[in-house]
């Protein structure tokens, strides 16, 4: 009996539904059939919460965007599109006016209007909210009429709408009814806990079942305002944490789509029947950084001075790295080498500035001798081993490449919790040489210039772990933030990037590849920020 049952699971069952659907279509000529298309997908972890204001993290936000929506949205190639707002304009330098979409209802049937927007702005300001970055941009939200809202900013903010896709709107009445007017809080009473497990958005899908860490079932929202090509009527999400198990589930047909797939497994997926890898460039830039702030490195045999304060040493490191070897040997040819700290998909990227310094061991050696280290020196490198695509292997490759110019790298690769606990601000940037990755959450260059490249002053440079500091770059960050003229703004961005490149503030390596696995017959859209949206899925 058991043996028979095996047949009906997975692909067999799938084929059976297909045939059944086909027969149904044959039997009723002329009738347009809305076939039930189930779809199953897996990711390495579960969403931590369905509260849209609970955690600012790509996967969680991307998942929530299936059932919640922001005022603006983005297409599969990240182009800005109308969302719950149909249009927006900068009526005054500090006021953005949003015209809201009419006739939109939440999943529970209540109407969407300006009050919900005002309420959501208030909610992201509550204690447990992790959307305070967005909240910090908005000084005030003013209702003009039922379908017009003004968002007032402290200072002129030319890119405010760019950042609002992930600011999702909740229903005021529903939240009040269920006592979840505050964002889910890790510490404290149960405020917000209803929204932690229940969702009521306006999006194309609705949550019908949620078992944390087991499965989440979504159903298409028949009343969605938007147009979609997707024929998915029910979608089941399962977190599968083990890479091998996740890939096996995809190959055996238990899931239709799984991500991430280890780069090393691409060959296997290509060889297996019925599945293939889907890869593309991610908007995340991987780079190396140096401690340039301390007068003596914490982890080095050079005493009394800091070699990384010398630009020649930084440039020597840069030119000692064979980026093409990393690309072909470690990233299976799927990374995009970069000279900028931002990816091509990011607003402000200028291809003219994206030319890397050549890989040249002799020049690197010469620079190092000029700087007074003909024999090289020793330094410890901090590296995460479970955060970015092949992060530890990149670090190992860098270490062996630097060995060719006499620099002995002592590699400390750790799990992300330990790595970030060591190198970030709260532990006083406890690192001498590190690898980090960054995607600007705003999809705008300003975020990278401000967080990674500015001096550590006034809340800027929070992830400038090495303390690279050029006052002009820092000043440019402020100018870029308020410049509303696109051309002038681009010039300022270019200037900052140019200075940073010339001074080798960091060593950009590449944009890492996205790595998904998809069953044949299923089409999905791969967003460069690694978000996956059901509205782009079609199942054959």
């Amino acid at each position: 009996m058991f043996l028979r049952i095996g047949f009906t699971s997975g692909r067999g069952f799938f084929a059976a539904t297909l045939i059944a659907g086909f027969l149904a279509a044959m039997a009723l000529p002329g009738v347009k059939t809305a076939e039930a298309k189930p779809f199953k997908w897996a990711f390495q972890g579960d969403v931590q919460t369905v509260d849209p204001h609970g955690l600012f993290e790509t996967f969680t936000l991307g998942f929530q965007l299936n059932f919640y929506e922001g005022l603006v949205s983005r297409s599969a190639d990240l182009e800005l599109q109308p969302g719950l707002a149909t249009s927006w304009e900068n009526v005054e330098p500090t006021v953005w006016r949003f015209t809201l979409r009419q006739g939109v209802t939440f999943h529970n049937g209540s109407t969407f209007n300006a009050d919900d927007v005002i309420f959501s702005v208030q909610r992201i300001n509550t204690e447990g909210s992790d959307m305070k970055v967005i909240a910090g941009l908005i000084k005030d939200a003013v209702k003009v009429d039922d379908y017009t809202v003004d968002l007032v900013t402290e200072q002129p903010d030319p890119i405010l709408p760019l950042q609002l896709e992930i600011f999702m709107i909740m229903d005021k009445e529903w939240s009040e009814e269920h006592g979840t007017t505050q964002a889910t809080n890790v510490k404290g009473d149960d405020q917000g806990n209803y929204a932690n497990l229940h969702a009521n958005g306006t999006g194309p899908f609705m949550v019908v079942e949620r078992q944390p860490d087991v499965r989440t079932v979504l159903k298409a929202n028949p009343n969605w305002w938007g147009e979609t090509k997707s024929n998915v009527t029910e979608a089941t999400f399962t977190p599968i944490s083990q890479d091998a198990t996740r890939v096996a589930a995809l190959i055996s047909g238990d899931v239709d789509m799984a991500y991430p797939v280890p780069v090393q497994d691409w060959k296997r997926l290509e060889g297996a029947a019925g599945v293939s890898p889907l890869t593309g460039p991610e908007a995340r830039t991987i780079f190396l950084g140096f401690d340039q702030a301390r007068d003596e490195l914490l982890y080095s045999n050079v005493k009394g001075k800091n070699p990384f304060k010398d630009q020649r040493v930084r440039q020597a490191f840069y030119q000692a790295i064979d980026i093409e070897a990393i690309k072909s040997k470690i990233m299976r040819g799927a990374s995009t080498p970069s000279n900028l700290m931002i990816a091509p998909q990011i607003n402000g990227f200028n291809p003219a500035l994206n030319k890397r310094l050549p890989y040249d061991v002799d020049t690197a050696k010469g620079l190092l001798s000029e700087a007074g280290y003909p024999e090289g020196f020793e330094v410890t490198m901090d590296c995460p081993n479970d955060r970015y695509v092949n992060d530890e292997r990149i670090c190992q490759a860098v270490a062996s490449m630097l060995a060719r110019i006499g620099v002995k790298v002592d590699l400390l690769a750790q799990t992300k919790s330990k790595y970030f606990g060591k190198v970030l601000a709260q532990n006083d940037y406890d690192t001498s040489f590190f690898l980090l990755g960054w995607t600007p959450s705003t999809f705008d260059a300003h975020n990278a210039i401000s967080s990674l490249m500015s001096c550590r002053v006034d809340g800027k440079g929070a992830f400038n772990l090495g303390g690279y500091c050029n006052e002009r770059v820092t000043e440019l960050a402020d100018l870029i933030q308020v410049e509303t003229d696109p051309e002038k703004r681009q010039a300022l961005i270019d200037e900052a990037n140019k200075i940073h490149s010339e001074e080798v503030g960091h060593i950009p390596l590449h944009q890492q590849p996205l790595s998904w696995g998809v069953s044949d017959g299923v089409t999905v859209a791969q967003r460069p920020d690694n978000m996956f949206h059901l509205r782009h899925v079609t199942v054959k």
Binding site: F2, G6, T49, D213, T238, T415, L424, S441, G459
Partner: protein, 341 residues
């Protein structure tokens, strides 16, 4: 007897306190939970504020004390990752782990003991040699690898194998998750659905294999020992049937160490099901714990470790009590010595 049980329960509190103390002193080395709880653009001030709200800057014994004070009031804290009370999370996960462990233990006992008896009785039999070689695999291969191999054969390759041989040789079995479950009060069971039962097959075999081989080898060596004793020879001399000798006398006398080991192993099955749970994405306590480690979810880790500490003490207690049932000499000793254990 009652004094003995009470004393053991008091000891279990001591064990749990010690486990908790060690656990909290180690949490400093697991990493920083804050960065997993906030997005990359969260400011330093907000991070620090969250850290203070959670009391993560306090010395570990202060954090431990606070955890204990809340725990005795039934509050095990709120999971950093799930943002829900830990007590709820564990209650949800207990059934999955216990059902898996139960099936694994049953498999281990009901296959391991007969195999042990058989190999003990037929030392040179060909089948015995097969059992012994297979058991070597079970003992020496890590659980993780066994799980992956099973997934490979029954999940990935089954279709290809069946296509190659031309008939249905290898069933395709679920390789992750628990299948559909039925809610009985707070207990969710996978025993009542087809997909739930199918989903149990691979993980329970993976989890049982090591214990099965252990029990088999133990029973075998005990049997060999007992079969050499005088009373067995005497029993045979009396003309008792093989069956009565082998099972009535020999097997029964091997049971004391078998019960000890099985009992202790039951604790390990529950505690170490975490590897199996991780490989098969089995939504039990072990998976919860592994994920808690990855995300440095301190309330979950602390509660889980202390609960496992309690399990072990409790199972030991049950094992000790079972001795009384199995071994009449203990009862006799106790009568003579006036109740000292």
């Amino acid at each position: 007897m009652i004094a003995f049980v009470v004393r053991r329960l008091l000891q279990s509190i001591g064990v749990m306190l010690a486990v908790g103390l060690i656990a909290f002193s180690l949490f400093n080395y697991v990493g920083d939970p804050i960065n997993n709880m906030v997005g990359q653009d969260t400011t330093l001030e907000q991070r620090q504020e969250l850290r203070e709200r959670l009391g993560l800057d306090d010395p570990f014994f202060v954090q431990y004390g606070r955890f204990l004070v809340n725990a005795v009031q039934g509050d095990f804290g709120i999971s950093y990752r799930h943002r829900r009370p830990v007590a709820d999370l564990i209650t949800e996960r207990v059934p999955a782990t216990l059902e898996l462990s139960f099936i694994a233990a049953v498999l281990a006992l009901f296959i391991g003991v007969p195999m042990g008896v058989y190999t003990g009785l037929h030392r040179r039999g060909a089948l015995s040699q097969v059992f012994l070689s297979v058991s070597l695999v079970g003992v020496s291969l890590p659980t993780f690898l066994i799980g992956i191999l099973l997934i490979l054969v029954f999940g990935v390759m089954s279709q290809d194998i069946n296509a190659a041989v031309g008939f249905y040789l290898v069933p395709q079995l679920p390789t992750f998750g628990r299948g559909d479950t039925v809610q009985l009060g707070w207990w969710s069971t996978g025993f009542l659905t087809k997909s739930g039962l199918l989903a149990l097959i691979l993980p329970s075999i993976t989890l049982a294999l090591f214990q099965m081989t252990l029990i088999m080898r133990l029973v075998r060596s005990e049997m060999l020992e007992v079969l050499r004793t005088d009373y067995i020879k005497f029993a045979r001399a009396r003309g008792l049937t093989n069956r009565a000798v082998n099972f009535g006398h020999a097997l029964k006398n091997t049971l004391v160490p078998v019960i000890t080991i099985t009992g202790l192993q039951l604790g390990s099955i529950i505690a170490f099901s975490l590897i199996t749970e991780q490989v098969f994405q089995w939504p039990g306590m072990g998976l919860l714990f592994i994920q808690a480690i990855n995300e440095v979810d301190i309330p979950v880790m602390a509660s889980y470790l202390m609960m496992i500490g309690f399990f072990f003490v409790f199972i030991n207690l049950v094992v000790d009590l079972l001795y009384y049932v199995v071994d009449p000499r203990l009862r006799a000793d106790k009568a003579v010595s006036g109740g000292h254990q």
